[in-house]
Structures are given as C-alpha cells and as structure tokens.
C-alpha cells in the first residue's frame, strides 16, 4: 500500500466507445483519488458516464487506457477470473432496482456472496444475521423479494453488499426508485455504514438531496470532475 488513505487512484483514465465509425470518449485523461473512509456522491447529467465510472471502479469494466489502482495495486489489467475474485473480496454493489434473486429468501440473497468464501455454514448464518440486523431486516429473513416493499428490498440488497465485509460500497442510484421518506432511511443507513463501520462509499445519484448525505460531491460533466466544496 503506497498511501494508507489512498484507497483508489485513477491515473489518466480514458474510456471510449465506438459506435459505427464514430468514437465517443466518455472520459479522457481522468485523474482522481479516493481515500479510505470517503463517502462520495457522483452527480451529473444522464449519459455523462456515472455508471461507466462505477463499473471501472468496481472491476466490472476495463478502461480504454490509463490505470485504476486499488490499495496501490492495478486492477484494470486483471483477467476476468482474477477480477471476479477481486470483486468478491473488495467491493459491495448496490443497484437502483435492487437486483435480488426472486427465487431466494432475503437471508439466502444475503448469503450469496458468502458462497464464494470458505466460511462454514454456521459462520455464514451468523454473518447473514449480523448483516440483516444492521439494515433492520432480521424479522424478514424468510421473505421472498416479491413479499417485500422497495425500501425493504434495498435494505436486503445493502445487507448483501456488506455481508462479505468489503472495503468499498458502490451504489448506482440506490434511491432512484424510492419515495422521499424511504430514500432518506436508506441514505441514513449508508451514512451509518460509512461512519460506524468505516466503509468507503461511492454513490451515483442525480438527486441533490441524496447527494447531501455524502461527505463529498463530484459533478461529472463532459468527462471532467467539478468538485463542490462542502462544509
């Protein structure tokens, strides 16, 4: 680890897509540092590349050029198998539409990432219970996603994201499908995870009210960041 506080470092990052003959650059030479324990809100107009950036940070997508360093190690040049292992160990994902498995109970959904560890069945059960407890969903452990409200599903999804104890949580519009009150509850939970458990959180949102929960707001526009100072 080069720097104890530098969790992520993006160096001269570019991402281009070719559409027919045209090449569109989403980012061109982006540099950025994300510290351990940060809670960052990434804002920006639709199509500005927020999801693309999150995918690069999450080891889902690879840049066209430049480097993504996580704890001082490059992850942009890892193979698919290594990236999968890296994701399982280091990153928790939270989606706008929850993306729970409809056939599994809440507890089983939360247990999924633990299938990639070699924890015993007993240890897994304990972990699942703790994660559900943190998001306040223990009493719904046996429910299927279809039996839960949107906010409850998102809570289960957050439990799934933290159960394997990753360093970073990547959330793409986590409250985009929720009403204000429920959204606030979810955001409070994220804040709690950041403050109490020290999770680094990078959250994409187009909602200024949601962004206000973060410690730092970054505005993505035409492939560049504009930082908004916060008190």
């Amino acid at each position: 680890m080069t720097d104890a506080s530098g969790l992520y470092e993006l160096k001269n990052l570019s991402k281009r897509y070719t559409r027919g003959k045209e090449t569109v650059a989403i980012f061109d030479g982006l540099d950025m540092t994300i510290s351990q324990g940060d809670f960052i809100a990434i804002m920006g107009p639709s199509g500005s590349g927020k999801t693309t950036l999150l995918n690069l940070l999450g080891g889902i997508d690879r840049p066209s050029s430049g480097e993504v360093l996580f704890e001082g190690q490059r992850i942009d040049n890892l193979g698919q198998g290594k990236l999968a292992k890296w994701r399982a160990k280091n990153a928790g994902f939270i989606f706008q539409f929850y993306n729970l498995m409809p056939t599994l109970s809440a507890a089983q959904n939360v247990e999924l990432p633990l299938l990639l560890t070699n924890l015993s069945g007993k240890a897994r059960k304990d972990r699942v219970k703790t994660a559900l407890d943190i998001v306040g969903m223990v009493d719904r452990a046996g429910h299927r996603p279809a039996q839960l409200s949107g906010g409850q599903q998102q809570r289960v999804a957050i439990a799934r994201a933290i159960v394997a104890d990753p360093k970073v949580l990547l959330a793409d519009e986590p409250t985009g499908d929720l009403d204000r009150t429920t959204a606030d509850e979810i955001l409070q939970t994220l804040q709690l995870l950041n403050k109490e458990l020290g999770k680094t959180i990078i959250m994409v949102t187009h909602d200024p009210a949601a962004a206000s929960y973060a410690a730092r707001e970054l505005h993505l526009n035409k492939g560049r960041f504009e930082e908004k100072g916060k008190a």
Binding site: N55, D61, R87, F93, F95, T103, Q108
Partner: protein, 386 residues
C-alpha cells in the same frame, strides 16, 4: 445454501414448465425402457451358445417342412456331433387364445442339444425320455397354467389333425425344466416326435428344423456349407445358419424390432432434444439479469457455466430416472400379460447403463448452449437493460 440450492431453485422457478419438460423426458425414457425390455425378450437365447449351434431349415421358409430322411443324412455329415429334429406343434390349451409354444422333438437329441440351457432333475429327465406321451414343460409356462409334474393335459394343435379326427393330443407332464440363469426362455413345452408323428392324419415323416451341435464351433462354416450342398438341387433345399441368426429371422416375422426400436427411440429423443434444448436456452435468457448480478458478486464464468449445465443434467436425470422406473413396472406387467408368447423379460444391465449414458448426453447437449450463453453474459450490458 450452496450452489446446488441455486441450481434446484432455478430449475423449478417455473414449476409447470419444469414438470412439462420432465414429463417429456420421462416419456422418452419410458419408451426406451419398454422397447428395450421387449427387445431383450426377442433376442433371448442369442448368447454365445446359440452362436455355436447350427439350425437347418427349409430354404424356402422355416415353416415349410423337410423330409424325415434328412435327419439321418445330416447326422452322417463330418463334424456333426448331435442333430435334433423338431416340428412346430402350434398348440393351445382349452381355448384358442391360450397359446402354448410347443414343439415335437426327438427327446434324446434335443436334450443333448441344450445340455446347459435346459435344467431338470435326473429322474424327470429319465421319465421324459421313457414315456411316449410325456411332455417336458418350461417353468414359466407351467406357472402360467398352474401345471405340475404328474398332470395330464389335453393340448390342441391349430396346425395338425389327429388320426382320430380330433386336433387334441393327451400329454402327461413328466417334468418341468428351468433355465440356468434367466438367459434362456422357459415359456414352451416339448412332446415326443414319435407320439406326434404316428398319430398324424397328414404330413407325417417330416420336421421343420434340425438343431445341430458340431464337434468344434470352428467347423461351423464348413459343416453348414456341406449340409446345404448335400441337398442342393433337391426338392427341399436347406438353409443352415447359426441358431442366433435363426432366432433373429424367426422374430423378424413379428417385424424388425431392432429397427423399430431405433426409429422410435431416435424420434422421441430428437423431439425432446429440441424441446428441452430450446426451452433451456429461453429459460436461461430470461435470467440474464440475475446471471449478471451473480457475476457482479464475484461468481466466475466457469462456475456459472457449470451451474447451468448441472441444471440441465438434473432435469435430464430426474425425468430419465422416473421414466426408467416406470418402464421397469410396465415391462413387468407386460411380461406377465405376454407370458404365452414371449419369455419373461425386463430391463437388462445394458439397457440401464445405456439409459444413464443417454441421460448424461441429453443433459450435456441441452445444457451446453445455455451454459455457454450464461458464461458469456456481460455485466454492464445485462444490467444496463432493465
């Protein structure tokens, strides 16, 4: 929870669809099992011993008789150790539908021809050889009509007429024979050729086939060539083949069961291959998003490939094993219903091993494409489309 839980839940997520697929696989394996068992009945007694025995019949057709004198001449052919003549009796018991497979044989040479296949106590053997009106009954046939040693039964023929004008021969059951290990049929009876021939109103002094044991199976080609050459250009030319080939030709009068089997099973499997294959592809396509989520969580592509493949294997084995189980029950029932016509039959070890191999093949073939598709799912694309 483990991967197996996920596989099972995925297979049964649409219960009706899973059940319908399973039923279609089940039917294919039911057909496979029943026809396979039936084929066993038809090919029974085609073991190595049958490969080593020869059978001489009329060249025109095995239902056309040969002159009695051929027996003696065949016995003289070099390399022939034993020659056993026999005639179709075409028997039935009391009612014409009570078909009884029955042959008129020369007792001594016939028993000599089947030293290991026909098993019976020495005193019953001696009694059968002695008594002119004796019949030797196979275990399956004796059980069917509840006959036992000492019984006197009237046996009717739908081919022959007795000199007294009737079509009935009175027979004493002098013995009941078993087979060595369930590989030789016991659903027929034998009566003395002499007793039968003497009382015939027509068609005396002829028989339908001669079973031959040679000194050495290596001589078989030579012996059969010599026998057929002996009667070439006579009024009754002969055709000599192995008993196995003869049995096969005999069974083919009921239709080429092997060919029917191949076609029916082939058609059934081609159909389920398409149905199950396309359904599996569709089922996995519907789950693209879930697969993308699993990948995001860190499930590797090979692991996802295996999970989908196991799902189709599970489907194939569930349907296949139930189908095979039902086939066993159906074969047992059919076997007792057809006891008069066919030796008792069931699924052989070969049938079962073949079925298991087919289940594995079906699972792999129908699973490989959806498994490959699942493995290829790209997270960013799949999660991008809602």
């Amino acid at each position: 929870m483990n991967d197996a839980t996920l596989i099972r839940k995925n297979l049964f997520r649409k219960r009706l669809r899973a059940i319908l697929l399973m039923v279609s696989i089940l039917i294919a394996f039911l057909i496979f099992g029943v026809l396979g068992a039936l084929q066993n009945a038809f090919t029974m007694g085609s073991g190595t011993a049958a490969q080593e025995r020869l059978v001489t019949v009329n060249r025109i057709n095995f239902t056309v008789a040969l002159p009695y004198a051929y027996w003696g001449r065949i016995e003289q052919v070099e390399g022939v150790r034993n020659a056993a003549p026999a005639s179709w009796f075409g028997g039935y018991y009391q009612e014409p539908q009570n078909f009884v497979q029955s042959f008129a044989v020369d007792p001594a040479t016939y028993l000599e021809a089947y030293p290991t296949e026909i098993v019976l106590p020495p005193e019953e053997r001696a009694a059968f050889l002695e008594g002119r009106t004796c019949a030797l009954v196979g275990r399956a046939l004796a059980n069917q009509y509840d006959w036992s040693t000492g019984d006197r039964i009237p046996l009717n023929s739908n081919i022959w007429q007795n000199t007294d004008g009737s079509q009935t021969w009175e027979l004493d059951i002098c013995g009941v024979f078993d087979d060595t290990e369930g590989t030789y049929p016991t659903n027929y009876l034998m009566l003395h050729y002499e007793y039968f021939n003497e009382s015939l109103a027509f068609g005396r002094d002829s028989f339908h086939w001669i079973t031959i044991n040679t000194e050495d199976p290596a001589l078989n080609d030579q012996v059969s060539g010599e026998i057929d050459a002996l009667f070439a250009n006579s009024s009754a030319e002969t055709s000599t083949t192995t008993e196995a080939a003869f049995n096969e030709a005999f069974m083919e009068q009921f239709g080429n069961i092997g060919l029917i089997l191949t076609w029916v099973i082939g058609a059934a499997f081609a159909t389920i291959l398409m149905i199950v294959g396309t359904t599996m592809v569709m089922a996995v396509n519907e789950r693209t998003r879930e697969i993308a989520v699993l990948k995001t969580l860190g499930f590797t592509a090979p692991r996802i490939f295996r999970m989908v493949l196991w799902e189709s294997l599970l489907l194939s084995f569930l349907g296949g094993l139930i189908g095979l189980g039902l086939a066993t029950l159906a074969a047992t029932a059919a076997s007792s219903a057809l006891a008069g016509f066919l030796p008792s039959f069931g699924l052989s070890l070969t049938n079962i091993v073949t079925a298991l191999a087919l289940m594995a093949a079906l699972g792999l073939v129908t699973g490989i494409l959806p498994a490959y598709n699942a493995m290829q799912v790209r997270i960013s694309e799949a999660l991008g489309k809602i």
